[in-house]
């Protein structure tokens, strides 16, 4: 009789299904996973240490680069931590803008997750569909901040600037004739809110399209149903948050339970799974996209009716306007001190968390009164999820490992930090 041995297989870090730079050492008995040992840190940039050598505001763009598919939500937690330490109020309009962009970010994140997850499991089309919609939302990012991804739009005390009145237009080029360009620019003729409203009108139909492709798809269900089951008790013990916790049947959402900004005024539902498997987590995230769309719609309606300031008028924290700076000595000093020395945050420590698309994203900020953080700890949701990789994949086949990585929605920018 032939001798049967366990195999140790190396998966990644360049494997396309490893979602970046995950190196997974799998111990296999035939095709069944006995042990999975993720090796992370290949994208470690020591963001927390770098933040200790930068002023508080200088670290805002680093936050974009943590979870680089849900940029503004990272900034949000960081700004909330600073505001909590400073005991600073954010103007109401800025709070609505933040909520709106948090939800736009959630849709962006879930679209990428959906496309990449389906691609891993073998469905190519969804990826192309998802990126079609991402394009519109990234245009909104660009219109408001000037950058398609790394926005640095949220600032301590509010947001960098108000929503623009115009959207960038497509220009005539040799690939598209004038008629096609005109059609493309149709929903871009008004303000950014008009553009987003048009998007929210269209988006539920797009989600239906994804569901047509996947929800009842036999292959999709064969690959996801009963894969990576996590019981509610284990999900809590393993530190799961967000859709991973809700997929296991716990109705926990910081937007409802510990509301921040204006989430307590929003109408939306929390989808919850029943079996705690990958398919339930898929359904949860699909429904979250529909709910996010609802929230964006409510924010648009409010923002249309209520103009106002979008950043705090405390010039020890937020810069004065350019006009004021040019004509007023005191404002000039404020501007100079703010951009050379930075914000002085009172001594203390705080933890601020947001319901990030992936789970609870928290910033534990510690200040000793200086213009730089003393210690900054980033609590990344994906870190706790990936730590459970071993437990979730044990006893599954190799091909299910890919599905489990997909269902966890891992992004290495935040896990490695």
């Amino acid at each position: 009789m032939a001798e049967i041995r366990n195999y140790t297989m190396n998966f990644g870090p360049q494997h396309p299904a490893a979602h970046g730079v995950l190196r997974l050492v799998l111990e296999l008995d035939g095709e069944v996973v006995q042990r999975a040992d993720p090796h992370i840190g290949l994208l470690h940039r020591a963001t927390e240490k770098l933040a200790e050598t930068r002023t508080w505001v200088q670290s805002v763009p680093y936050m974009d680069r943590l979870d680089y598919v849900s940029m503004m939500c990272n900034e949000h937690a960081y700004c909330m931590a600073i505001e909590k330490l400073l005991n600073l109020d954010v103007p109401e309009r800025a709070q609505y803008i933040r909520v709106m962009f948090d939800e736009i970010t959630r849709i962006l994140n879930h679209l990428l997750w959906l496309g990449a997850h389906a691609l891993d499991v073998g469905a190519m089309t969804v990826f192309l569909y998802a990126f079609r919609e991402r394009e519109d939302l990234m245009d909104a990012y660009e219109a408001v901040s000037g950058a398609r991804m790394h926005a640095a739009y949220y600032r301590p005390g509010g947001v960098y600037r108000d929503l623009p009145d115009t959207m960038p237009q497509y220009q005539a080029n040799k690939f598209k004739n004038a008629d096609a360009i005109k059609r493309l620019n149709e929903n871009r003729s008004g303000s950014m809110l008009d553009f987003l409203q048009d998007f929210t009108d269209r988006f539920p139909r797009y989600v239906d399209e994804y569901e047509t492709l996947l929800t009842d798809n036999r292959i999709w269900k064969q690959r996801l149903v009963d894969i990576g089951i996590v019981t509610p008790e284990r999900a809590k013990a393993l530190g799961f948050t967000g859709p991973m916790l809700r997929g296991s049947g716990i109705a926990w959402d910081l937007r409802k339970k510990q509301p921040y900004e204006v989430y307590d005024r929003m109408e939306f539902d929390i989808p919850v799974g029943t079996n705690g498997d990958s398919y339930d987590r898929y359904l949860v995230r699909i429904e979250e996209m529909r709910q996010s769309n609802r929230i964006v719609r409510q924010c648009i309606d409010w923002l249309r009716k209520n103009p106002g300031p979008v950043i705090s008028d405390n010039h020890k924290v937020a810069p004065p306007s350019r006009e004021a700076m040019k004509g007023n000595m005191e404002e000039l000093i404020h501007h100079f001190k703010l951009f050379t020395e930075g914000i002085h945050v009172p001594s203390g420590e705080c933890y601020a968390a947001v319901e990030h698309p992936k789970g609870e994203f928290g910033i534990y900020a510690m200040s000793d009164g200086a213009n730089k953080p003393y210690r900054l700890k980033i609590r990344a949701p994906g870190f706790a999820h990936l730590a459970a990789m071993d437990e979730m994949s044990r006893g599954h086949m190799i091909s299910d490992v890919v599905a489990i990585i997909g269902t966890m929605d891992v992004v290495f920018g935040e896990i490695d930090r």
């Binding site: 992370i40 840190g41 470690h44 020591a46 927390e48 240490k49 770098l50 050598t53 930068r54 002023t55 200088q58 909590k84 330490l85 005991n87 809590k236 013990a237 393993l238 530190g239 948050t241 716990i250 926990w252 339970k257 510990q258 020890k316 001190k337 050379t340 020395e341 930075g342 002085h344 001594s347 203390g348 420590e349 705080c350 933890y351 968390a353 609870e360 928290g362 534990y364 510690m366 000793d368 009164g369 200086a370 213009n371 730089k372 003393y374 210690r375 700890k377 609590r379 870190f383 706790a384 990936l386 730590a387 437990e391 490695d416 930090r417």
Partner: protein, 199 residues
């Protein structure tokens, strides 16, 4: 919310007495415990009847050696953020490692399985050892990395750099060639600096 956190503080003080030092600031409750009580209190908090802290949200190391107001005492601390899903409350638990030269803290991996990677990270970055962890390998830094980079005495540019050496035709490590540069100095201003009426 704030009254609920106050009653939690009172309940914890009543239960644990002088084993804990509870402070309430910015609406957040911080509980400091001695290193020898850390594991027992963690277990008691998790299995607490009214407010079971069943979730470990975060665990991190802190190096207090250059802190303007707390640099006198022990150097390394472990800070744990707990959450109670049932009671919708948060709690911060802090414990200092007794020996600065050889910081050891009990592992809470058996209390909350989520602590596994967080403790590995704290070991990797701060060199804090977690007694009873069982799998305390480095997590984030490179294979064969020397030192604990998040300690305050570890320079931001590190000690070694890696490059391809055309002579030996392989990747080599060498001492860093760039000098650390600080564009904006770190300053701590006195209270109410620059406020109206302060000059």
């Amino acid at each position: 919310m704030s009254t609920r956190i106050e009653s939690l503080r009172d309940a914890l003080v009543a239960q644990f007495g002088d084993k804990i030092r509870a402070t309430l600031a910015l609406g957040e409750l911080t509980v400091e415990v001695a290193a020898e009580d850390y594991h027992d209190i963690s277990l008691a908090l998790r299995d607490h009847a009214d407010t079971p802290f069943e979730q470990l949200i975060d665990l991190c190391g802190v190096d207090y050696s250059t802190h303007t107001s707390r640099s006198e005492g022990l150097r390394y601390a472990v800070v744990v953020h707990l959450m109670s899903v049932a009671a919708n409350l948060r709690l911060r638990l802090r414990t200092f490692a007794a020996d600065d030269g050889f910081p050891v803290v009990a592992s809470v991996n058996d209390v909350w399985p989520a602590a596994n990677w967080f403790e590995r990270e704290a070991f990797d970055l701060f060199g804090i050892l977690f007694a009873g962890h069982g799998d305390l390998r480095r997590l984030l830094t490179d294979y064969g990395f020397v030192g604990h980079p998040f300690r305050k005495d570890f320079p931001i540019s590190g000690h070694v750099e890696m490059r391809y050496d055309p002579d030996t035709k392989r990747v080599i490590y060498q001492p860093v060639t760039i000098a650390p540069r600080e564009v904006t100095p770190r300053v701590v201003r006195e209270e109410n600096y620059g406020d109206v009426g302060h000059g």
